[in-house]
Each structure stands twice: as structure tokens, then as C-alpha cells.
Amino acid sequence: MDVIKPAPGFEDILPLEYQELVADGPYGRSLGVKDLGTFKELIEDHPLCAGCNLTLSFRLLLASLPKPEDTLIVTTAGCFGVIHPQIALHASIAPFGTQNAFASGLTRAMRIRFPEKQKDVITIGGDGSFADIGMAPTTHSWFRGEKFASFMLDNECYANTGGQASGMTPEGVVLNMAPKGKSFDKIPFVEIAKLAGCAYVATASPTKPRQVESMVRRAILVAREVGPTFVRLACVCATNYKLTPIEAHRKSKELVSQTDEYMTEAAREYLESLEGAA
């Protein structure tokens, strides 16, 4: 990837971190989750809670991108939103819950400017940003058939604002603003995604890194050609559910006991043509 290479003679004045990205970053190489620890990652430090499952999901997601050098990331407010300026890709933060509206405009701009080149736009948001405040722009981007992948980091609450119940919090859970226990069940957002026209819908948890990788890749590949895609990454919030990191990890695993993967016939054929060819 030539654009990241400094002009000759300038290498040593750049920050060490940048030099490492040039020498050993993932751009233009087919690296994945199995290679973690052997290359310079797109994200390194983060300011989030120690032992956070959401952060682990974020890290795995970035390590699974099929073509990082042409990936554009749209995030929004939420715990993960605080990491976004530290990603070594072009990343932008949309107003809370509007990530899929932003990505609709951005995807269209990429197709106008680079008709011959695939740019992978992806959105990353919380359960609150997709299922509550951002329900309309999310589902409408799917109704319109906007071709990009959406990734929900479902920590089952509004974590960034201090642990309030979200629409994706299970019924009965006591969190801020649900002092008597949440009064209705988890929004069936995965089902909504299927109904709204996603060509590929999956749920994974960071406790199974290789599965996360496979689902992230499939979602991005299907979005290139077939239609919108959605992946829910179950990663319960340790801090606000008052769990130790180990307990939170275990709980995230329980939340995704079986592989949950749906795809349309067109998506299946497309993936088979790719995976068969590989």
C-alpha cells in the first residue's frame, strides 16, 4: 500500500508507531485472527475497561477485515466510539445512532468516485445505537438495500453513559433507569435484520475468535455484491453488570451457545463461489 509509505529520507522522523505500521501493519497482506501477536495491529492501546469483552470483539473485528487497506469505518457514540481515533484506518464518528445513514452516503460516494475499486464500508455501533435510537436509519438502510456490513457490539446495556437498560437488555435485569427490572424482553433485532432485507445475519461472541473472523469476513464479502449484512457480537458489559472479566467472558459464551448464521440463497451462492474458488 503505497500511500502509507513515507517519502525516502523521512522514515526516521515519523513516530515509532507509524514506522511499525508501515513495516509490519496488516495492509495488503492476508492476515487474520490466527496471526494476532505476529503483526502490528490496526488498534493497539485503548482507554476502555480492563477485561472488556466489547473491546476484545472490536480487536477481533479489526483483525478479521478482508481488505483493511480499503476499509472505511463508521462508528458512533458508545464505549467503542472512544477508540475510534486510534484506529489506523479512515474512521469517522456519526451522531449517536446515525451510523447507517452516514454509511449510506459514504458508500454511494465511494461508488461514484471509485466505480472500479471495492471500498468496504462498515458500521460499528452498540446495541443502543442500532436497536434503540438508531432503529430507523438502520432498518431503512436495509430496506433500501444499501451494500455495507453493520456490526452490533451487544453488551446488553448503555455502558458509555453509566449502565442504563437498553432495548437489548433482557427482561427483568435491574440496571439504571430500570430500578424494578427491565419491563420487556430483548428486542428481537436479529429477526428484524432478516425481515428488513439483510442478505447475511449472524451472531458470534468474542469467546470464539475464529467464528468471529469467519462471520465478519462473510458479512463484508456478501455486502460487496449481494446486499446489506448484519452481525451481532454478544459481549456483555463486565463493569455495568458487575461481573469480573472472567465471568463476563463466560456469560458472553453462554449467550451464543449455538452457531447462529442466516443467509439468503443469493448470499449462499455467492459465498460458495468465493469459498469454492479459494
Binding site: 502509507i4 472505511l72 461514484i112
Partner: protein, 390 residues
Amino acid sequence: MPDIGVEIPARTVVTAEHMLFDAPREQRYLIGNEAVAEAVKRANVDFVVVYPITPQSEVSHLCGDLWARGLIRDYYRGEDELHVMVSAMGAATGGVRVFTATSGPGTMRAMEAISCWPGYRLPLVCAFMGRGVGTPANIQPDSVEIAYLLETGMIIFHVENPQDFFDMTIAAYAIAEQPEVHVPVAVFADGFFVTHSREVVELPPESEVLARYDPAVAPVPAMDMETVPVRMARDCLVIKSNFISYNANASWQQEVWAAQHRARKHINRLMGGSVEVLHPDAEILLVASGSAAAQARVAMQEARRQGLDVGFVKIKVIRPFPEREVVEACKKAKHILIPEFNMNGWLAREVKSRVDNNSRIFAGPRVFAGMTMPPELILDEMHKLVGART
């Protein structure tokens, strides 16, 4: 998905100066909505996303027709104004030329997104077609929306008539896209009075367009992974709690307003200045913007026929506010009247906070809620002020 990346018919690329000053003009009889669509056609716009609302819907339809004819590259009706304005932001961040438009309640709904545009340094152009907001519900003309937009960091033009709507929209793109400016422009037209008044509008040829937007000249790189993937996005998220973040955030905000200031020379070049002044030495001065300026212009002519010593200042640019020009124009006047199409008189406050001896200023007449402002109303106030009823 609609077809995008359609072939655009070959057209001749011209500069904004040529289009505004040199190109031959043909007379057409157009409403404001049609005039702004004619500007979109000639501005070589890549992408329009929009949501209909009275009195703006016609331009939403007309942009759809332009797209169907291959004269803009992509278009859709969004789900609501907030997400229209966010989609516009996403596309402009990706480095294409964007147009959108809204009105009254749509502006209010979209405010969160609109407040983000200047900080993203997006050169997009939005036509606002002013109508009443709030309760009682009101679709009638009102310029109150400008009061809400004043501190967003957008450049704001206030058009007097359909001709202005065309010319100022073309100028808006040329000014917004200057590398040293690169902030969004609001082209504000009063609902119905401008959006639906049919008037003679002189248009340059349809075969001439502005050059395509080149994101390479932007002061902040487009989001496209064609430039260095530095660990900071175009919108510079600096929300960490330390002094360096606060300082970066503060300078980023100041830079938006400095960019507005740097737009002044381009406004002078492409719009003949931020104000139009007639009879600056007069005893009574009418200071107005938008369609109130159109009414004040007629009132001035009538008053002068009646022998009153009256001058006129049309403020074309509300942001960056033409402080120096307004102070200069108001220097000699004994009485200053500021007619407005809104209840609270934001323009009078803008003027009062800049000129001295505010006892000279009569902040009115003001009409709103759909009422019209006959020139006689302005004349009447002038007569009261000089105590010389005719």
C-alpha cells in the same frame, strides 16, 4: 439499489466567474424552487439526498428528475431529515459534491447533524426554505430558522428573490470549496415569497457546468483510504479528558470561524460583496435581508417619490456577518428601520450589537405567521418616525 455511476451527458466545464458574470443569459419565468434546481443542474452535483416538506418539495422532485436524466450521479429520498443530513455528511466526507434542502420542522429535526457539518469541514450546500416552526403548526413563510442556524458555523446567505436563489447557490459551491474555506453554506430563501413566486430569472446555458469537485484540495483529507491512514479521522475526535485534547478541540472550533472569515474575499469576488447599499447618505435607512429586503426596496422607492430621504441596505450574507460594511452604511443615518419576516427580530439584534447609538434603531416592522408585509406598512413606520405623515 438505483443505478449509480450513470453516464453524464458531455457538458462544457466553465468557472464560477464565467457562469456568474460572463456567460450569456436567457430569460425564464421560474419559481424559486425551480431556480435552485437550475443551479444544482449547472453545479455538477454528484449526490442529492433529500426529504420532502412544504415549501421545499418541488426541489426534491426536480432533483429526482435531474438524476433520472443523468445530470446528477446519485439521489434518494431519505427516511427523515436527521438521517438525510447525516447521509449528506457521509457522502461529503467521502469527497463528493452534495446538495440537499429542507425547511422549518425539517431543519429543527436535522439540527444535530447540521451542527456537525462545519466541524467536519464539509463544503456541502443546503437550501433552507424558511417556514414557521413549533406550535401552532404553521407552513407559512418565516425567517426564524436563521436564528437557529446563526451559531452553527455555517456560512449563511439570505436570498431576496428567485434570481438570487440561482446565483447565490452557484456562488455557494464556489465559495464553500475554496481550500481555505471548506465549510458548508446555507442558502436561505423565505418560503412561498421566494420559493413559489414566479419571476423572470436569467440563466446561463444549460450546457455549461462547474468542474467536478476535487477532494484533493480539501484542507482535511476525504474519507476514502487513498491517503495516509493516520489515527485521526477527518472529524478529529478530541474528547479525551486532558489539556491537549481540550486545546485541539478549541482550536478546531476557532478554525471553523476563521474559515468563515476567509470566505469574505471570495464573497466579494463572486457576489459583489455581502451588502447592497443604495443612498447611503440618507436620513432614514431601511436595513433588511431576504424577501423583507424586496419589500423594503419598494418602500424606499415610494418614500423617495414622496420626498422622504430614505436609503436601503440589503444584507445578503448573514454569516460571516458583514460587520464593517453594516457599520459603515449606518454611520450617517438618523433613523434605522429593520423590517423582518419573523417575530423576534434576530436581524435587528445582529445589527444592534454592531452599530453604535442604538436609539436610532426601530426593530421593525415585523410580520410572521403567514402575514404579508405591504410596502405601505414600512412607509407608515417611516412616517411615524419622522413625524411627517403625508
